[in-house]
C-alpha cells in the first residue's frame, strides 16, 4: 500500500452486497484473530464464522459467493461495525480487497478506524442502500463508483447522494487521512497545553 496514491476522491469497483443491520466487529473478524501481533493475513479471515453454517460448511454469505470475487465496494445497511474498537475489523476488510464501504450508517469508532486506513465509509439513505444492493445482486459485474468529491455513488445509470463527516471526506479526498503526520507537527503547542493542565504536575504516591 505504501506507494499507492493516498487520494481517495473517486473509488471504482464491483459491488458486494451484505444485507444485514447491526453487523458487529466480532462478526467481521472473530476475536481469536486478535491474538496476532500483526495485521498481516487477516484478510482471509474476514467474516470467517458468519461464512459457515452450523456444521462448519460454507453457507451463502456474500463473501463465499463466486459472483462477487474481486469486488471492492462493500454495500451494507444500518449500524455496520458496531461493537469493539478493534482496528482488525477494517484491516481485515481492507486486506480482503475492500476499498470503500457504502451503507445506511456506521458505528463511530469503526468509521474512524476506516479513515485512518484510507477506507471511506460513505452513508446513503436506507432505501438507496437497499436499491444498490439489489442492483449489484442482479448484476455483479456492475461497476460502482464512490465519488467522494462529487458526493455521490453511481451505479449504471443510477446516482445516489452520499454523506459522511466532512472532516473525514476532506481528508480522504485530499489524501491527508494519515493523521499522525499532522499531529506531529504541533509539538510546541502540545507541550503548552500539557503544561496548562493542573494534573500533569500533581504528586502521587504511585
Amino acid at each position: 500500500m505504501a506507494n499507492k496514491d493516498p487520494k481517495r476522491g473517486l473509488i471504482k469497483g464491483r459491488g458486494l452486497p451484505l444485507r444485514e443491520n447491526d453487523v458487529d466487529t466480532d462478526r467481521i473478524i472473530p476475536a481469536r484473530y486478535l491474538k496476532w501481533v500483526t495485521f498481516d493475513g487477516l484478510g482471509a479471515h474476514a467474516f470467517e464464522d458468519a461464512r459457515k453454517d452450523a456444521k462448519g460448511q460454507p453457507n451463502d454469505h456474500p463473501f463465499n459467493d463466486p459472483r462477487y470475487k474481486g469486488a471492492s465496494v462493500l454495500i451494507v445497511n444500518r449500524n455496520f461495525g458496531c461493537g469493539s474498537s478493534r482496528e482488525h475489523a477494517p484491516q481485515a476488510l481492507s486486506r480482503a480487497g475492500i476499498e470503500a464501504l457504502v451503507g445506511e450508517s456506521f458505528a463511530e469508532i469503526f468509521s474512524g478506524n476506516c479513515v485512518t486506513l484510507g477506507l471511506p465509509a460513505a452513508r446513503v439513505s436506507a432505501a438507496d442502500a437497499a436499491e444498490l444492493q439489489d442492483l449489484v445482486a442482479a448484476n455483479p459485474s456492475l461497476v460502482v463508483e464512490v465519488d467522494l468529491e462529487g458526493r455521490e455513488v453511481r451505479a449504471g445509470a443510477k446516482k445516489y447522494a452520499l454523506t459522511m463527516p466532512e472532516a473525514q471526506r476532506q481528508a480522504l479526498v485530499a489524501g491527508t487521512w494519515d493523521s499522525t503526520g499532522s499531529l506531529l507537527s504541533n509539538e510546541a503547542k502540545i507541550r503548552k497545553i500539557a503544561s496548562s493542565l493542573p494534573y500533569m504536575a500533581w504528586k502521587t504516591a504511585g
Binding site: E20, N21, D22, D24, D26, P30, A31, R32, L34, K35, W36, V37, T38, F39, D49, K52, R78, N79, C82, G83, S84, S85, R86, E87, H88, P90, A107, E108, I109, N113, L117, A126, P165, E166, A167, Q170, A171, A174, T176, S179, T180, S182, L183, L184, N186, E187, K189, I190, I193, A194, L197, P198, Y199, M200, A201, W202, K203, T204, A205, G206
Partner: protein, 465 residues
Amino acid sequence: MSKNLFDKVWDAHRVGSLPTGQDQLFIGLHLIHEVTSPQAFGMLEERGLKVLYPGRSFATCDHIVPTESRARPFADPEAEAMMAELEKNVKKHGIAFFDFASGRQGVLHVVGPELGLTQPGMTIACGDSHTATHGAVGAIAFGIGTTQVCDVLATQTLAMDRPKVRKIEVSGKLGKGVGAKDIILAIMARFGVEGGLGYAYEYTGEAIRALSMEGRMTLCNMSIEGGARSGYVSPDQTTYDYLKGRPYAPTGADWDRALVWWKSLASAPDASFDDEKSIDGSAIEPMVTWGINPGHAIGVGQRMPKIADLPPAERDVARKAYDYMQFAEGAPIAGTKINVAFVGSCTNGRISDLRDAAALAKGRKVAKGVRALVVPGSMQVDAQARAEGLDKVFAEAGFEYRNPGCSMCLAMNPDKLRGDEVSASSSNRNFIGRQGSPRGRTLLMSPAMVVAAAVAGEVVDSRSL
C-alpha cells in the same frame, strides 16, 4: 446557561484545529493492553518515532490472560507471544506496566479507577471500546483504534470530531434488587444500539447520584453499546470520597488543589446540552437480554417481543436473533434454561459485584449441569474478595473461582462457550459468537441475576430468591 463538564474538559485539552477541521485533543491518560498495542508500537518504530510522554501511559494485560494457570510461558503460544511483545515494548519505551508481580494486574477498566489513575477532568483514551467506563469519575474517556494508539504514543494527542452532548436523566429511586446494570440495559432497550451515535452521554438524575462509584462504572462502561463513544457522570462527593487515598490520586496540597479544580468542572444545574432525555428509574426491573445485541433487553418479568409488534426497522435483526437464539417470540424470558453462568468482566467484575453475587450464592448450590465461573476484574479485587472469604462462598456454592482477566467476556483465553450453550453473563456483549463459540448464546444481566440463574438452572428474578 453554563458549559457542561464535557465542554469544559474538551476545551482545556484542545491543542488546536487540524487541516481537516477536526480538533487536536491532548490525552491526559493513555491505557495500554496486549491486544491492540503491538501493531501500534510496530507503526511507531516503522516511522522512527518515540513516545512523547511515557509517564502518561500505563499498561497491563487482560484479554488473553489465562484464568487458571498463569505460569509462563502460557500454554497458548499466541497468548505468550502477545504478552512477550507487550513486555518488550513497555520496557523499551519506559512505560509503567502492571504485571502479575506488581499485584495490580487486571482488566484495564477495573485497574485504572481502582489505582486512582482515572480522575475527574482528564481525557482518557485506550485501544478498547469500553474505555467509557472511566467516565464514571467525570473524565472524558473513549475507545480508539490501533493507529490512534500509535498517534497517542507519538504525540499524546488525537484527531477528533467533537461530539454533541446528551443529558440522560434517570429519575426516582431504584427498586430493591435493581442496579446500575439494569439501568444501562434499560437505556439500551429504550434508545437502541445506535441512539448515541455522535454523542457523549452525561448520566444524571436521582438514581444516578445514588449509585456508588462502582455502579457508575458499570453504567458508563456500556455507553458504547448504545452507540455513544463516551459517557460520564459529573463528579460529586461520592467521586471525591472514592478517589481519596488511592495510589495515583494527588496527595497533600495537590489534593486540595485537585478538589477545587474538579468542582469547577462539574456540570452546574443550569448547564446546557445539545439534547436531553429522561427515563423513570423507579420503573426499571432486573433486565435480561433475549437477542443478539444489548438493545434486545427486557425486564425479567416480561415476554420476548413479537416481531410484528416491533418497529419495521427492528424486525430483520429480531428475526435473525430468534433464529440464532432458538427462542420463540412472545415467550417469557424467565424460565429460559442456561448451561453456563459467568460473573466478571470490566462491566461487573469489581468487588461490589462479587459481594452482590456472593450474598446470593451463600448457602445455595449451582444447579446440576450448569458450569459457573467467577472471575475477579483485577488482582486487587481478587485480594479483597479472598480477604472477605468470598472465594470460599463461591467454591462452596459450586462456582469455579478464577484468576483475574477478561475471561469469558470475549473468550480470547481458554474460557469459552461450547456449541450452542446458553450463558447467563454479567458481561456487556451478547453478539453472535462473542463468548467463544460461533453458536454460543449469551444473555446479559446483572451479577445477582447471573447467580440466581446459576442456582435455578434457568432465568429467574433474583429478587425471588
